[in-house]
Symmetry: none
Protein backbone atom coordinates (compact mmCIF):
# COMPACT_ATOMS: atom_id res chain seq x y z
CA UNK A 1 0.00 0.00 0.00
CA UNK A 2 2.90 2.38 0.63
CA UNK A 3 3.55 2.48 -3.08
CA UNK A 4 5.15 5.81 -3.72
CA UNK A 5 7.80 7.82 -2.02
CA UNK A 6 5.14 10.42 -1.39
CA UNK A 7 3.04 8.02 0.62
CA UNK A 8 5.97 7.38 2.89
CA UNK A 9 6.62 11.09 3.27
CA UNK A 10 3.02 11.66 4.28
CA UNK A 11 3.11 8.89 6.86
CA UNK A 12 6.39 10.21 8.20
CA UNK A 13 4.93 13.70 8.48
CA UNK A 14 2.33 12.26 10.85
CA UNK A 15 4.88 10.39 12.94
CA UNK A 16 5.61 13.33 15.18
CA UNK A 17 2.44 15.35 14.89
CA UNK A 18 -1.18 14.51 15.42
CA UNK A 19 -2.36 16.36 12.34
CA UNK A 20 -0.87 17.70 9.14
CA UNK A 21 -2.25 20.36 6.80
CA UNK A 22 -2.76 19.62 3.16
CA UNK A 23 -0.83 22.71 2.20
CA UNK A 24 2.16 21.53 4.21
CA UNK A 25 2.18 18.27 2.31
CA UNK A 26 1.96 20.10 -1.01
CA UNK A 27 5.11 22.05 -0.17
CA UNK A 28 6.85 19.07 1.35
CA UNK A 29 6.36 16.84 -1.66
CA UNK A 30 6.34 19.45 -4.44
CA UNK A 31 3.18 18.06 -5.93
CA UNK A 32 -0.22 19.51 -6.61
CA UNK A 33 -3.19 19.65 -4.29
CA UNK A 34 -5.03 17.10 -6.39
CA UNK A 35 -2.28 14.56 -6.06
CA UNK A 36 -2.05 14.91 -2.33
CA UNK A 37 -5.81 14.59 -2.03
CA UNK A 38 -5.73 11.36 -3.99
CA UNK A 39 -2.91 10.06 -1.83
CA UNK A 40 -4.83 10.87 1.32
CA UNK A 41 -7.88 9.06 0.03
CA UNK A 42 -5.83 5.95 -0.68
CA UNK A 43 -3.99 6.07 2.62
CA UNK A 44 -7.27 6.42 4.44
CA UNK A 45 -8.61 3.30 2.73
CA UNK A 46 -5.50 1.49 3.87
CA UNK A 47 -6.15 2.63 7.43
CA UNK A 48 -2.93 4.59 7.62
CA UNK A 49 -4.57 7.87 8.57
CA UNK A 50 -7.85 9.69 8.75
CA UNK A 51 -8.76 12.43 6.34
CA UNK A 52 -10.06 15.58 7.96
CA UNK A 53 -11.08 18.90 6.52
CA UNK A 54 -7.84 20.72 5.86
CA UNK A 55 -5.54 17.74 5.83
CA UNK A 56 -5.07 14.47 7.64
CA UNK A 57 -4.99 13.18 11.21
CA UNK A 58 -3.18 10.28 12.77
CA UNK A 59 -5.25 7.30 13.77
CA UNK A 60 -5.53 6.65 17.49
CA UNK A 61 -4.73 2.97 17.42
CA UNK A 62 -1.50 3.34 15.51
CA UNK A 63 -0.95 0.08 13.70
CA UNK A 64 1.75 1.39 11.44
CA UNK A 65 4.63 -0.93 12.26
CA UNK A 66 6.58 -1.65 9.10
CA UNK A 67 6.64 -5.42 9.41
CA UNK A 68 2.96 -5.62 10.06
CA UNK A 69 1.90 -3.02 7.51
CA UNK A 70 3.48 -4.88 4.66
CA UNK A 71 1.54 -7.93 5.53
CA UNK A 72 -1.67 -6.09 6.12
CA UNK A 73 -1.53 -4.44 2.70
CA UNK A 74 -1.77 -7.77 0.91
CA UNK A 75 -5.20 -9.22 0.41
CA UNK A 76 -6.45 -6.64 2.83
CA UNK A 77 -9.96 -6.75 1.51
CA UNK A 78 -10.18 -10.53 1.80
CA UNK A 79 -8.81 -10.41 5.31
CA UNK A 80 -11.36 -7.85 6.39
CA UNK A 81 -14.21 -9.98 5.11
CA UNK A 82 -12.96 -13.06 6.90
CA UNK A 83 -12.16 -11.12 10.05
CA UNK A 84 -15.56 -9.50 10.18
CA UNK A 85 -17.27 -12.85 9.84
CA UNK A 86 -15.07 -14.35 12.53
CA UNK A 87 -15.84 -11.50 14.89
CA UNK A 88 -19.51 -12.21 14.31
CA UNK A 89 -19.01 -15.66 15.81
CA UNK A 90 -18.06 -14.15 19.15
CA UNK A 91 -20.99 -13.76 21.52
CA UNK A 92 -21.37 -11.38 24.43
CA UNK A 93 -19.87 -12.86 27.55
CA UNK A 94 -17.47 -15.10 25.66
CA UNK A 95 -13.93 -15.66 26.79
CA UNK A 96 -11.74 -15.95 23.71
CA UNK A 97 -8.10 -16.26 22.67
CA UNK A 98 -6.75 -14.10 19.85
CA UNK A 99 -3.45 -15.16 18.36
CA UNK A 100 -0.97 -12.55 17.11
CA UNK A 101 -1.35 -12.05 13.36
CA UNK A 102 -2.60 -9.48 10.90
CA UNK A 103 -5.87 -11.15 9.97
CA UNK A 104 -6.90 -11.67 13.56
CA UNK A 105 -6.00 -8.04 14.23
CA UNK A 106 -8.67 -7.00 11.75
CA UNK A 107 -11.29 -8.74 13.88
CA UNK A 108 -10.94 -6.35 16.76
CA UNK A 109 -13.02 -3.42 15.46
CA UNK A 110 -15.98 -5.77 15.03
CA UNK A 111 -15.84 -7.52 18.39
CA UNK A 112 -18.52 -6.97 21.04
CA UNK A 113 -17.12 -5.21 24.08
CA UNK A 114 -18.59 -7.34 26.85
CA UNK A 115 -16.08 -10.15 26.38
CA UNK A 116 -12.80 -11.21 27.92
CA UNK A 117 -9.86 -11.63 25.60
CA UNK A 118 -6.52 -13.33 26.12
CA UNK A 119 -3.89 -12.65 23.47
CA UNK A 120 -0.18 -13.05 22.80
CA UNK A 121 -0.03 -10.04 20.48
CA UNK A 122 1.27 -6.75 21.85
CA UNK A 123 -0.42 -4.71 19.15
CA UNK A 124 -3.60 -6.68 19.60
CA UNK A 125 -3.64 -5.87 23.29
CA UNK A 126 -3.30 -2.18 22.52
CA UNK A 127 -6.17 -2.24 20.04
CA UNK A 128 -8.35 -4.18 22.46
CA UNK A 129 -7.72 -1.66 25.20
CA UNK A 130 -8.74 1.15 22.88
CA UNK A 131 -12.06 -0.66 22.48
CA UNK A 132 -12.36 -0.91 26.28
CA UNK A 133 -12.34 -4.68 26.18
CA UNK A 134 -11.07 -6.57 29.23
CA UNK A 135 -7.72 -7.88 28.08
CA UNK A 136 -5.13 -10.33 29.36
CA UNK A 137 -1.72 -10.62 27.76
CA UNK A 138 0.26 -13.77 28.28
CA UNK A 139 3.82 -13.31 29.46
CA UNK A 140 7.06 -14.26 27.81
CA UNK A 141 9.73 -13.21 25.37
CA UNK A 142 8.72 -10.71 22.71
CA UNK A 143 9.46 -11.56 19.10
CA UNK A 144 10.52 -8.22 17.59
CA UNK A 145 9.25 -8.76 14.04
CA UNK A 146 5.63 -9.47 14.94
CA UNK A 147 5.50 -8.25 18.55
CA UNK A 148 4.14 -11.60 19.62
CA UNK A 149 4.83 -13.19 22.98
CA UNK A 150 6.60 -16.53 22.65
CA UNK A 151 8.80 -18.87 24.63
CA UNK A 152 8.48 -20.92 27.76
CA UNK A 153 6.83 -18.17 29.79
CA UNK A 154 4.15 -17.63 27.18
CA UNK A 155 3.33 -21.30 27.00
CA UNK A 156 3.05 -21.59 30.73
CA UNK A 157 0.96 -18.43 31.09
CA UNK A 158 -1.52 -19.86 28.64
CA UNK A 159 -2.23 -22.95 30.69
CA UNK A 160 -3.95 -20.86 33.34
CA UNK A 161 -6.84 -20.06 31.02
CA UNK A 162 -9.71 -21.82 29.25
CA UNK A 163 -11.50 -20.40 26.22
CA UNK A 164 -14.89 -20.60 24.58
CA UNK A 165 -13.31 -19.92 21.22
CA UNK A 166 -9.89 -19.21 19.79
CA UNK A 167 -8.91 -17.48 16.54
CA UNK A 168 -5.58 -17.66 14.72
CA UNK A 169 -3.83 -17.31 11.41
CA UNK A 170 -1.56 -19.94 9.88
CA UNK A 171 0.91 -20.00 7.00
CA UNK A 172 0.14 -23.36 5.49
CA UNK A 173 -2.92 -25.61 5.18
CA UNK A 174 -2.39 -29.06 3.72
CA UNK A 175 -4.75 -32.07 3.43
CA UNK A 176 -2.30 -34.50 4.99
CA UNK A 177 0.13 -32.29 6.92
CA UNK A 178 -2.43 -30.06 8.61
CA UNK A 179 -1.80 -26.49 9.77
CA UNK A 180 1.78 -25.20 9.70
CA UNK A 181 3.67 -21.99 10.50
CA UNK A 182 7.32 -20.93 10.11
CA UNK A 183 8.14 -20.46 13.78
CA UNK A 184 8.43 -23.50 16.01
CA UNK A 185 7.72 -21.54 19.15
CA UNK A 186 4.63 -19.87 17.75
CA UNK A 187 3.41 -23.26 16.61
CA UNK A 188 3.57 -24.56 20.18
CA UNK A 189 1.54 -21.63 21.44
CA UNK A 190 -1.12 -22.00 18.77
CA UNK A 191 -1.29 -25.71 19.50
CA UNK A 192 -1.80 -25.10 23.18
CA UNK A 193 -4.44 -22.45 22.54
CA UNK A 194 -6.44 -24.85 20.41
CA UNK A 195 -6.36 -27.52 23.06
CA UNK A 196 -7.59 -25.06 25.69
CA UNK A 197 -10.59 -23.95 23.59
CA UNK A 198 -14.00 -25.47 23.13
CA UNK A 199 -13.95 -24.34 19.50
CA UNK A 200 -11.00 -23.29 17.33
CA UNK A 201 -11.05 -21.17 14.16
CA UNK A 202 -8.30 -20.65 11.59
CA UNK A 203 -8.56 -17.50 9.49
CA UNK A 204 -6.94 -18.06 6.09
CA UNK A 205 -7.22 -16.41 2.70
CA UNK A 206 -7.01 -18.65 -0.34
CA UNK A 207 -3.23 -18.27 -0.72
CA UNK A 208 -2.62 -20.45 2.32
CA UNK A 209 -4.20 -23.58 0.90
CA UNK A 210 -1.89 -26.41 -0.11
CA UNK A 211 1.04 -24.48 1.30
CA UNK A 212 3.41 -26.14 3.74
CA UNK A 213 5.44 -24.24 6.27
CA UNK A 214 8.01 -25.51 8.78
CA UNK A 215 6.39 -26.27 12.10
CA UNK A 216 3.20 -28.25 12.50
CA UNK A 217 0.44 -26.82 14.67
CA UNK A 218 -2.32 -29.41 14.46
CA UNK A 219 -4.30 -31.66 12.16
CA UNK A 220 -7.06 -30.14 10.06
CA UNK A 221 -9.85 -31.58 12.15
CA UNK A 222 -8.69 -29.57 15.15
CA UNK A 223 -10.15 -26.30 13.86
CA UNK A 224 -12.75 -24.80 11.56
CA UNK A 225 -11.22 -22.97 8.62
CA UNK A 226 -12.67 -19.58 7.67
CA UNK A 227 -11.71 -18.46 4.16
CA UNK A 228 -12.96 -16.10 1.48
CA UNK A 229 -12.71 -18.03 -1.77
CA UNK A 230 -11.91 -21.61 -2.59
CA UNK A 231 -12.02 -23.12 -6.05
CA UNK A 232 -13.75 -26.45 -6.38
CA UNK A 233 -10.75 -28.59 -7.20
CA UNK A 234 -8.85 -27.33 -4.17
CA UNK A 235 -11.81 -28.02 -1.95
CA UNK A 236 -12.07 -31.61 -3.20
CA UNK A 237 -8.57 -32.36 -1.90
CA UNK A 238 -9.87 -31.86 1.58
CA UNK A 239 -12.09 -34.61 2.84
CA UNK A 240 -15.57 -34.03 4.10
CA UNK A 241 -14.25 -34.29 7.64
CA UNK A 242 -12.48 -30.95 7.28
CA UNK A 243 -14.67 -28.10 8.43
CA UNK A 244 -14.38 -25.21 5.97
CA UNK A 245 -16.60 -22.14 5.98
CA UNK A 246 -16.37 -20.02 2.84
CA UNK A 247 -17.30 -16.45 3.73
CA UNK A 248 -18.82 -14.27 1.02
CA UNK A 249 -18.98 -10.54 1.47
Amino acid sequence: MLETERHQMIIDALKNKNTVKLQELVELTNSSESTIRRDLTQLEEGKFLKRVHGGAARLQGKLQEPSMTEKSSKNLQAKRVIAQYAAGLVEEGDCIYLDAGSTVLEMIPFLPSTIVVVTNGLMHANELLDKKIKTFLIGGNIKPTTKAMIGRGALESLTHYRFDKCFMGVNGIHPQLGFTTPDQEEAMIKQEAISLSREAFVLADETKFSEISFAKIADLHAATILTNELDVETKEQYGSKTKIKVVTS
Copy 2:
Protein backbone atom coordinates in the same frame (compact mmCIF):
# COMPACT_ATOMS: atom_id res chain seq x y z
CA MET B 1 -11.41 13.39 17.03
CA LEU B 2 -8.38 15.70 17.32
CA GLU B 3 -8.92 16.80 13.78
CA THR B 4 -7.36 20.19 13.46
CA GLU B 5 -4.22 21.84 14.64
CA ARG B 6 -6.42 24.15 16.69
CA HIS B 7 -7.94 21.24 18.57
CA GLN B 8 -4.47 20.13 19.51
CA MET B 9 -3.55 23.63 20.66
CA ILE B 10 -6.63 23.81 22.84
CA ILE B 11 -5.91 20.48 24.45
CA ASP B 12 -2.30 21.47 24.99
CA ALA B 13 -3.40 24.72 26.59
CA LEU B 14 -5.25 22.64 29.17
CA LYS B 15 -2.28 20.38 29.81
CA ASN B 16 -0.64 22.75 32.25
CA LYS B 17 -3.62 24.70 33.52
CA ASN B 18 -6.91 23.58 34.92
CA THR B 19 -9.00 26.08 33.00
CA VAL B 20 -8.50 28.29 29.99
CA LYS B 21 -10.42 31.43 28.99
CA LEU B 22 -12.05 31.63 25.62
CA GLN B 23 -10.32 34.92 24.93
CA GLU B 24 -6.93 33.33 25.54
CA LEU B 25 -7.66 30.69 22.98
CA VAL B 26 -8.77 33.30 20.46
CA GLU B 27 -5.41 35.03 20.75
CA LEU B 28 -3.45 31.82 20.89
CA THR B 29 -4.96 30.40 17.73
CA ASN B 30 -5.61 33.63 15.82
CA SER B 31 -9.17 32.65 15.07
CA SER B 32 -12.53 34.13 15.86
CA GLU B 33 -14.64 33.66 18.92
CA SER B 34 -17.21 31.73 16.93
CA THR B 35 -14.67 29.22 15.74
CA ILE B 36 -13.32 28.57 19.20
CA ARG B 37 -16.83 28.10 20.54
CA ARG B 38 -17.54 25.53 17.88
CA ASP B 39 -14.28 23.77 18.66
CA LEU B 40 -15.09 23.66 22.34
CA THR B 41 -18.50 22.18 21.63
CA GLN B 42 -16.93 19.44 19.55
CA LEU B 43 -14.17 18.70 22.02
CA GLU B 44 -16.70 18.48 24.81
CA GLU B 45 -18.68 15.91 22.84
CA GLY B 46 -15.47 13.96 22.42
CA LYS B 47 -14.90 14.04 26.18
CA PHE B 48 -11.68 15.98 25.88
CA LEU B 49 -12.76 18.85 28.12
CA LYS B 50 -15.71 20.47 29.80
CA ARG B 51 -17.17 23.76 28.65
CA VAL B 52 -17.63 26.34 31.36
CA HIS B 53 -18.82 29.89 31.25
CA GLY B 54 -15.95 31.93 29.91
CA GLY B 55 -13.95 29.08 28.45
CA ALA B 56 -13.14 25.44 29.09
CA ALA B 57 -11.98 23.26 31.96
CA ARG B 58 -10.03 20.05 32.06
CA LEU B 59 -12.17 17.16 33.17
CA GLN B 60 -10.95 15.23 36.18
CA GLY B 61 -12.73 11.97 35.55
CA LYS B 62 -10.17 9.81 37.30
CA LEU B 63 -10.24 10.31 41.05
CA GLN B 64 -6.76 9.54 42.23
CA GLU B 65 -4.66 8.26 39.40
CA PRO B 66 -3.68 10.71 36.71
CA SER B 67 -3.41 9.02 33.35
CA MET B 68 -0.03 8.28 31.94
CA THR B 69 -0.11 11.19 29.51
CA GLU B 70 -1.07 13.72 32.12
CA LYS B 71 1.53 12.43 34.47
CA SER B 72 4.29 12.56 31.92
CA SER B 73 3.71 16.25 31.23
CA LYS B 74 4.37 17.26 34.82
CA ASN B 75 7.91 17.71 36.05
CA LEU B 76 9.12 16.29 32.80
CA GLN B 77 12.48 17.93 33.06
CA ALA B 78 13.15 16.60 36.54
CA LYS B 79 12.08 13.14 35.49
CA ARG B 80 14.44 13.17 32.54
CA VAL B 81 17.37 14.05 34.74
CA ILE B 82 16.60 11.29 37.21
CA ALA B 83 15.87 8.81 34.47
CA GLN B 84 19.09 9.51 32.65
CA TYR B 85 21.09 9.00 35.82
CA ALA B 86 19.26 5.77 36.56
CA ALA B 87 19.93 4.47 33.07
CA GLY B 88 23.61 5.16 33.67
CA LEU B 89 23.57 2.65 36.52
CA VAL B 90 22.74 -0.15 34.11
CA GLU B 91 25.78 -2.00 32.82
CA GLU B 92 26.14 -3.98 29.63
CA GLY B 93 25.04 -7.56 30.17
CA ASP B 94 22.72 -6.68 33.04
CA CYS B 95 19.35 -8.27 33.48
CA ILE B 96 16.98 -5.65 34.85
CA TYR B 97 13.33 -5.11 35.73
CA LEU B 98 11.55 -1.93 34.66
CA ASP B 99 8.28 -1.17 36.35
CA ALA B 100 5.47 0.56 34.45
CA GLY B 101 5.51 4.28 35.10
CA SER B 102 6.31 7.51 33.34
CA THR B 103 9.65 8.22 34.99
CA VAL B 104 10.98 4.77 34.29
CA LEU B 105 9.78 5.15 30.70
CA GLU B 106 12.15 8.06 30.30
CA MET B 107 15.10 5.79 31.09
CA ILE B 108 14.71 3.76 27.96
CA PRO B 109 16.39 6.08 25.45
CA PHE B 110 19.54 6.06 27.58
CA LEU B 111 19.84 2.34 28.21
CA PRO B 112 22.64 0.27 26.68
CA SER B 113 21.29 -2.22 24.16
CA THR B 114 23.17 -5.34 25.23
CA ILE B 115 20.94 -5.99 28.20
CA VAL B 116 17.91 -8.10 28.98
CA VAL B 117 14.84 -6.33 30.30
CA VAL B 118 11.74 -7.66 31.99
CA THR B 119 8.84 -5.21 32.36
CA ASN B 120 5.16 -5.07 33.21
CA GLY B 121 4.53 -1.97 31.06
CA LEU B 122 3.02 -2.38 27.62
CA MET B 123 4.30 0.96 26.44
CA HIS B 124 7.69 0.25 27.93
CA ALA B 125 7.90 -3.00 26.00
CA ASN B 126 7.16 -1.17 22.76
CA GLU B 127 9.85 1.40 23.41
CA LEU B 128 12.38 -1.25 24.34
CA LEU B 129 11.71 -3.15 21.13
CA ASP B 130 12.28 0.01 19.11
CA LYS B 131 15.71 0.16 20.74
CA LYS B 132 16.30 -3.48 19.76
CA ILE B 133 16.65 -4.53 23.38
CA LYS B 134 15.81 -8.10 24.29
CA THR B 135 12.53 -7.75 26.12
CA PHE B 136 10.30 -9.96 28.25
CA LEU B 137 6.83 -8.87 29.25
CA ILE B 138 5.21 -10.51 32.23
CA GLY B 139 1.71 -11.85 31.69
CA GLY B 140 -1.52 -10.89 33.34
CA ASN B 141 -4.47 -8.54 33.26
CA ILE B 142 -3.90 -5.16 31.64
CA LYS B 143 -4.82 -2.06 33.62
CA PRO B 144 -6.33 0.27 31.01
CA THR B 145 -5.25 3.59 32.55
CA THR B 146 -1.53 2.87 32.70
CA LYS B 147 -1.24 -0.13 30.38
CA ALA B 148 0.51 -2.04 33.13
CA MET B 149 0.22 -5.78 33.67
CA ILE B 150 -1.23 -6.64 37.03
CA GLY B 151 -3.03 -9.46 38.78
CA ARG B 152 -2.28 -13.02 39.74
CA GLY B 153 -0.77 -13.92 36.38
CA ALA B 154 1.64 -11.01 36.51
CA LEU B 155 2.83 -11.88 39.97
CA GLU B 156 3.39 -15.48 39.06
CA SER B 157 5.17 -14.64 35.80
CA LEU B 158 7.59 -12.51 37.76
CA THR B 159 8.75 -15.33 39.99
CA HIS B 160 10.45 -17.02 37.05
CA TYR B 161 13.05 -14.30 36.80
CA ARG B 162 15.93 -12.88 38.84
CA PHE B 163 17.36 -9.41 38.31
CA ASP B 164 20.61 -7.58 38.77
CA LYS B 165 18.73 -4.34 39.28
CA CYS B 166 15.16 -3.11 39.28
CA PHE B 167 13.77 0.41 38.73
CA MET B 168 10.36 1.73 39.67
CA GLY B 169 8.33 4.80 40.49
CA VAL B 170 6.22 5.22 43.63
CA ASN B 171 3.57 7.69 44.74
CA GLY B 172 4.55 8.17 48.36
CA ILE B 173 7.77 8.09 50.36
CA HIS B 174 7.50 8.38 54.14
CA PRO B 175 10.10 7.98 56.90
CA GLN B 176 8.04 5.49 58.89
CA LEU B 177 5.53 4.10 56.38
CA GLY B 178 7.96 3.45 53.55
CA PHE B 179 7.10 3.37 49.84
CA THR B 180 3.41 3.48 48.90
CA THR B 181 1.28 3.52 45.73
CA PRO B 182 -2.49 3.83 45.12
CA ASP B 183 -3.07 0.42 43.59
CA GLN B 184 -2.86 -2.64 45.80
CA GLU B 185 -2.12 -4.97 42.93
CA GLU B 186 0.66 -2.82 41.57
CA ALA B 187 2.12 -2.65 45.05
CA MET B 188 2.37 -6.42 45.18
CA ILE B 189 4.18 -6.52 41.85
CA LYS B 190 6.66 -3.85 42.87
CA GLN B 191 7.26 -5.65 46.16
CA GLU B 192 7.97 -8.90 44.39
CA ALA B 193 10.27 -7.21 41.88
CA ILE B 194 12.34 -5.74 44.70
CA SER B 195 12.72 -9.08 46.40
CA LEU B 196 13.90 -10.68 43.16
CA SER B 197 16.60 -8.06 42.57
CA ARG B 198 20.11 -7.75 43.93
CA GLU B 199 19.67 -3.96 43.95
CA ALA B 200 16.49 -1.89 43.84
CA PHE B 201 16.08 1.75 42.80
CA VAL B 202 13.11 4.06 43.30
CA LEU B 203 12.89 7.05 40.95
CA ALA B 204 11.07 9.92 42.61
CA ASP B 205 10.91 13.66 42.09
CA GLU B 206 10.71 15.84 45.20
CA THR B 207 6.88 15.93 45.24
CA LYS B 208 6.75 12.31 46.37
CA PHE B 209 8.53 12.88 49.67
CA SER B 210 6.43 12.74 52.84
CA GLU B 211 3.43 11.71 50.76
CA ILE B 212 1.44 8.65 51.74
CA SER B 213 -0.58 6.64 49.29
CA PHE B 214 -2.82 3.63 49.90
CA ALA B 215 -0.86 0.43 49.47
CA LYS B 216 2.51 -0.25 51.01
CA ILE B 217 5.28 -1.57 48.78
CA ALA B 218 8.24 -1.89 51.14
CA ASP B 219 10.27 -0.21 53.83
CA LEU B 220 12.68 2.53 52.87
CA HIS B 221 15.77 0.40 53.37
CA ALA B 222 14.65 -1.95 50.62
CA ALA B 223 15.68 0.39 47.82
CA THR B 224 17.93 3.30 46.93
CA ILE B 225 16.00 6.50 46.21
CA LEU B 226 17.03 8.57 43.19
CA THR B 227 15.72 12.13 43.25
CA ASN B 228 16.50 15.53 41.76
CA GLU B 229 16.19 17.96 44.63
CA LEU B 230 15.70 17.60 48.33
CA ASP B 231 15.71 20.40 50.86
CA VAL B 232 17.75 19.84 53.98
CA GLU B 233 14.96 19.68 56.52
CA THR B 234 13.14 17.01 54.50
CA LYS B 235 16.32 15.01 54.25
CA GLU B 236 16.83 15.11 58.00
CA GLN B 237 13.54 13.32 58.56
CA TYR B 238 15.01 10.29 56.90
CA GLY B 239 17.57 8.46 58.94
CA SER B 240 21.08 7.84 57.79
CA LYS B 241 20.08 4.28 57.02
CA THR B 242 17.97 5.46 54.10
CA LYS B 243 19.93 5.49 50.86
CA ILE B 244 19.16 8.65 48.93
CA LYS B 245 21.06 9.81 45.87
CA VAL B 246 20.37 13.39 44.82
CA VAL B 247 21.01 13.73 41.10
CA THR B 248 22.09 17.12 39.74
CA SER B 249 21.84 17.85 36.04
